[in-house]
């Protein structure tokens, strides 16, 4: 007799049988289908998806087509550095891993990467070469490098009247000029809430530690192993941030900024939609502008800095690189090395950087690199790469913990906390992290 019970039991049984059948029919993961028979499959964890990921995929495809021993499979993995560390520690690493340059000290010191002694460092711009090395050895090759600069909406600037900019320049170069223009561009809605902002350090919120360099200060003194985020220059920088927050309304502007958290670099991006007239961004912005806002009229200049440190010949900016390394004890080190060497070839580099709209990390660029470059302002970013004033993130393994202290500190300062006290607190704690890591390292070396 067909009762409801029987029906549901039968349905459940069918569902279960179907599911189990689906699960246990042997099949390989999608990427495993791509590997041609007879080739060694190399796993390459890389952070990029979307158009940037496609650009990397093209490099991978070129390599795969150029030889027939190995086949690289690119796997998009978020938070690559964290998962890589866990995987390497678990004895289950991929063959190649895409990291950030600030991961290098940590990975190098723990011996998580294979040293790349045969890499020719002379081919790179000196600042970039430094990012690839630690303790005198080379640990990674470079995928792309990038610098941060000011992206500004020309139409908005015209509206504000750029007569306040010295030298008849187009974009503000000092903080005072920046503040003056930003002030004029503020627009509020009927409820008095922020509708458009000229410039907010909280948009995007990815680099809360960026601002000390606007006053020529740095976050870390490598020679003395000292955390310096509480130096006078740094405090002045964050006080400038605090004043910006105050002028826009602290809570309101924070809510405004936070509303874009998930929209950055999408069609709803605050800069691309004109909600923010000027923003500090990386060269990839040109890529996304091309896709989502092709009619946007924008210009790029190095970050505005305090008048006392302004030097047009030596622009300030943050330099970082996306690097590629080989985990220690990976399954196929020789083949991995082959691919890595391939990615470091000048023509491969040039193409990848162009597709990412980024400047080139090489010392010598191929002819026509800038002329054909899809980022109309690549030269600006490039100038920062070669500038003696370019800043890099602290080359210390405790950097992640240090930066995680700065994130809430930035928000506290934004909502009104005293900059000097807050930064002093951060410095104290970050210094403890640094000292502890250095002490542990010394002890390990003693035992070895």
């Amino acid at each position: 007799m067909l009762t409801r019970r029987t029906f549901t039991n039968a349905a459940g049984g069918l569902l279960a049988a179907g599911a189990l059948g689906y699960a246990f029919v042997p099949r390989r993961a999608r990427w495993q289908h791509q590997v041609p028979a007879g080739r060694v499959a190399l796993r390459y964890w890389e952070k990029w998806t979307g158009p940037e990921g496609d650009a990397v995929q093209r490099v991978v495809d070129r390599f795969n087509a150029s030889q027939d021993r190995s086949f690289v499979v690119r796997l998009p993995v978020p938070e690559t550095y964290s998962k890589a560390m866990v995987a390497i520690g678990g004895g289950d690493p991929p063959d190649l891993v895409g990291l950030f340059s600030w991961n290098v000290p940590y990975f190098a010191e723990s011996g998580a990467l294979m040293p790349l002694d045969d890499l020719d460092l002379g081919a790179y711009a000196p600042a970039v070469a430094e990012l690839l090395t630690h303790d005198g050895r080379t640990w990674a090759g470079v995928n792309t490098c990038y610098t941060l600069a000011l992206y500004a909406n020309r139409a908005h600037l015209a509206e504000a009247g750029a007569d306040t900019i010295a030298d008849g320049g187009e974009l503000p170069r000092t903080l005072d000029e920046l503040d003056a223009i930003a002030e004029r561009l503020i627009r509020r809605d009927a409820r008095g809430r922020l509708e458009r902002a000229g410039f907010l350090q909280a948009v995007p919120s990815w680099w809360p530690y960026l601002w000390p360099l606007t006053h020529g200060a740095r976050l870390f003194d490598e020679d003395e192993r000292r955390v310096t985020c509480d130096s006078d220059g740094s405090v002045a920088a964050y006080e400038w941030v605090s004043r910006t927050a105050e002028r826009h309304g602290r809570a309101d502007s924070l809510g405004f900024a936070r509303g874009f958290e998930r929209s950055n670099l999408s069609p709803a991006d605050p800069f691309l939609t004109g909600k923010v007239s000027m923003t500090v961004q990386g060269p990839w912005m040109a890529n996304f502008a091309r896709r989502y806002a092709p009619d946007l009229d924008y210009a790029v200049a190095p970050m505005p800095v305090a008048a006392s440190v302004y030097d047009p010949e030596r622009p300030q900016g943050l330099l970082e690189a996306d690097v590629i390394g080989i985990p220690r004890d990976c399954p196929h080190p020789d083949e991995a090395l082959e691919f890595l060497a391939f990615t470091q070839r000048p023509e491969v580099q040039a193409e990848l950087c162009a597709e990412h709209c980024k400047p080139s990390p090489m010392r010598v660029k191929p002819d026509g690199f800038f002329e054909d470059h899809p980022n109309p302002f690549a030269a600006v970013h490039d100038a920062i790469v070669h500038s003696p004033n370019a800043a890099v993130l602290p080359r210390h393994r405790a950097w992640k913990g240090y930066s995680d202290l700065i994130v809430p500190a930035f928000e506290r300062i934004w909502t009104g906390a005293d900059a000097r006290a807050t930064l002093g607190d951060v410095a104290r704690r970050a210094q403890a992290l640094v000292d502890r890591a250095d002490a542990a390292r010394a002890r390990r070396e003693e035992r070895a």
């Binding site: 699960a23 678990g90 289950d92």
Partner: protein
Amino acid sequence: MTHGSAARRLALYLVLAAIACAWAAPFVWMLSTSIKPEEQALDPTIGLLPELGAEGWAASVRALARQTSENYAGVLNSASADFPTYYRNSIIVAFASATLMTLSSAFVAYGFARISWRGRELAFAVVLGTMMVPFTVVMAPQYLLFKHLGLIGSLLPLWLPSAFGGAFSIFLLRQFFAQVPRELDEAARIDGCGHLGIFFRVLLPNATPALAAVFLLQFVAAWNDFVGPLVFLNHQEQYTLALGLQMYQSSHGGTPWSLLMAACVLTVGPVLLVFALFQRAFTESVATRGLKG
């Protein structure tokens, strides 16, 4: 029916409606966004259904069907997330975990319910006490333990511990076994059964509701488990749905919201379907009549 009573009933219905809305809202929003084109996904001015510019009923339904299949196909064929593989892994882990947990917990529950032995109460307290151990305490050492066993790189770390029983399942089953009448035991014993015989002939057949409940609860728990996969799984082809979904969301470069919601529906759908079919089993299981005695 007095006036006050009618007013009271009205008030109760209002509250009920409010609760229904509040509890259903996230699901409804999830479903509604998953069938919209990307530009309309986050637009608050558009209602539950997308505006697809179709005229008339038939065309609207066709347009909606097309948009829906486009979104869902987009998820299943996504380059950055291999959802069919995630499904497969989730099925394996959930079934293995649920089956092993049910069987092993039944064995252990028998030991606590039907055998009297010295130290039993203390032992049971220890069993319950394991619920207090935070996963954070054991996750790193467990990771290293599995590494030394060479199991990192497979799905085993996710379901192997279930083969040894779990506190909650044991608790549930023990309560249930305690209520199966002992006369049945006696009858079986007269027939010459030892403990094993009583277990298979008397207790298991009479405990089907509880066994089903334990199976379903563990299935759902394993299906939804996020932290375990986060810690133990390194490679994308091992990911389960719960983890894969999280990775899909946080991928570099921003995921389209409509696809994201479609992925959520794909993750949530099967379990809700099972729930719809076996609702009684779930709710009765958690009720545990054993709470009385």
